[in-house]
Subunit: 357 residues, 2 copies
């Protein structure tokens, strides 16, 4: 699927042919991607490949909410007015200072006949693409929001493009739990693609949300040994208590110390065929590379990863390792991660401890 | 090969068992990797898996040389004294301000019986690992250096570890040309691993050094179509003049404009199975992702790549692409790149125009 293949139809407001990426909804500046746009068209009429969602909740990105709260000294009326103003002027919720957005939940209202998303009216969904590129219109002035948290109950609608990502919220799990799983669902999906039968998998940050799911995914993919790295005895205890089977060995190590980490991983049965970096700490690149076999693979899921530290680190260590940028999108990732949670008691235990229901 | 497998022998000065990574040469702080160390031991006596090189030239990293020149207002004596001081106190040439090093050329002097590097005394080599991790001792006070360029003629010695990387300088090519090829040799080697028979390959920055080598590597790997992206008509003319066969199509586009780039690439026969980013400009992540097929691969070689822009960009575009951090080390990369230069007239033409001999 590519940008310039027009879907049938065109936008009345911009006159541009409808595009799977939503280019036809971009009002200003014209020709850029919706995420880069200042102003999107949130009109409710959908193109043949679009979906309209009745929104019931916005989940602001933590950085965005913090900036708003600090700017307005926690005054709820001012924070509410600021968010309304952003959505009204931009046609999307993208904080102009932080550049970040968040996600939303809602109910599918109308599905265009050409939409490839597989949604049906009445389904409760969460969007897995950012609010920064999602056309949004609010109709209740955010009246029910107290401005005290990044969770905004609201009424209005949002538009999904052909290439948006949304996941149906399952009936059998509490919504906060499902959202927490969906938030990190790219990690287990990519881990599952990369790990092969009999591999040694090292999960750095194994007691965390993306880490525990990645450990379960490595196991299901046939890993012969799963080594979980955690920073402290507290985290190790948490991992031990959640039950058996998630990891074969627990290593307590500072992932920012390459030599120390690699030595401990080796004692635990390493080095790894596949190392998955799931901790949001800077400076873990060298340790991950050094804990991985020549010919192995490192998957970086931490947003604190430095591209140059990874590239130069591998060169400096003469490490012939494949290094993957953890792509948050793999088809079917949400369903896969939810299934891992349902079928792996230890993962579910960990999530229930970490997520407020 | 892993860290804690000790090579036979140990360092007299640190008492640590010799390690393929050179941990035994780290004087301060103990236990860190040589690159992270403040002070290395450059003693000439080699461990069984080490190699000693008689150094004839240092090539300072551009950022490091610029910092020195600016700090000392271009005064040659002060610049020379500063570099000598760094090497004498640190046992390596790592600019403490920029953190960067450079590389060196020299002649192999002594090879330990356990060295896996395949070198023999008398060979002229270049190091392909950074000076920031190479033990170095200077014996001529840099007397022959005028301080006016980052090229430092000198006398002294350097130590290579088992896991260092060095390449023999070929007799049939001018040294500056060989060094320019070796500087970017990771890109064609990794491109060659990833591109499959019949693939569409898009090379962003195809008229540059790493770009032209990557185009030649894609061709040799069996690419059915090679599309070269360049930023200007001047670069396009350069690519056209170098002769036929390097690329099938030339696209002039701003790689920082995702929609514009993807549309032009598609008209030229894209989207790509494999996109290789070889331009050192920030903001090319989205364009590279959008120019690549679902299921395709993007290889990022630009040090200006932003990890988070790549990860979030792919997610925002619902792009199921594999994204690789361009590892500068692939076994045999220097020989492979030199061979491409020798056998591809267009690459050689381009390099000869870009490299001062």
């Amino acid at each position: 699927m590519t940008t310039s293949l027009p879907s049938p139809g065109s936008s009345a407001r911009t006159g541009r042919p409808t595009s799977p990426l939503g280019l036809h909804r971009v009002l200003d500046p014209p020709g850029v991607l919706p995420q880069a746009a200042w102003w999107l068209d949130p009109s409710p009429a959908i193109a043949p490949d679009e979906v309209r969602v009745r929104v019931d909740r916005l989940n602001l990105d933590a950085a965005s909410y913090r900036q708003l709260r600090e700017t307005y000294a926690g005054d709820p009326d001012k924070i509410r007015a600021a968010v309304l103003e952003i959505i009204a002027t931009r046609g999307k919720m993208q904080n102009p200072v932080t550049g970040s957005g968040g996600m939303l939940t809602g109910t599918v209202e109308e599905v265009g006949p050409g939409s490839p998303l597989g949604l049906a009216p009445g389904q409760r969904i969460a969007t897995l693409v950012s609010l920064t590129l999602t056309p949004l219109l609010i109709t209740d002035a955010l009246r029910r929001w107290d401005g005290q948290s990044e969770q905004i109950p609201c009424a209005g609608h949002a538009i999904l493009f052909a290439r948006s990502i949304a996941a149906v919220l399952p009936d059998d799990l509490p919504i906060p739990l499902s959202l927490a799983v969906m938030d990190v669902c790219g990690a287990p999906a990519l881990t599952s693609r990369v790990v092969k039968q009999g591999n040694v998998a090292v999960i750095i940050g194994a007691a965390g949300k993306s880490g525990s799911l990645s450990a379960a995914a490595a196991r299901r993919a046939g890993a012969g040994r799963v080594i979980g790295v955690v920073p402290t005895e507290t985290e190790a205890a948490l991992l031990r208590e959640t039950g058996t089977g998630l990891v074969d060995e627990i290593v307590i190590a500072d992932a920012r110390d390459p030599v120390g980490l690699a030595e401990k991983v080796e004692k635990a049965g390493g080095p790894a065929d596949v190392t998955v970096v799931c901790v949001d700490a800077a400076g873990c690149e060298g340790g991950a590379i050094l804990s991985t076999k020549q010919g192995g693979t490192v998957i970086f899921f931490s947003m604190a990863t430095s591209f140059s530290a990874a590239a130069l680190g591998a060169e400096g260590l003469a490490a012939d390792v494949t290094m993957l940028v953890g792509n948050g999108y793999v088809p079917g990732h949400a369903e896969f991660a939810l299934d891992l949670l349902r079928t792996t008691a230890s993962v579910r235990n960990l999530f229930e401890r970490r997520v407020e229901s």
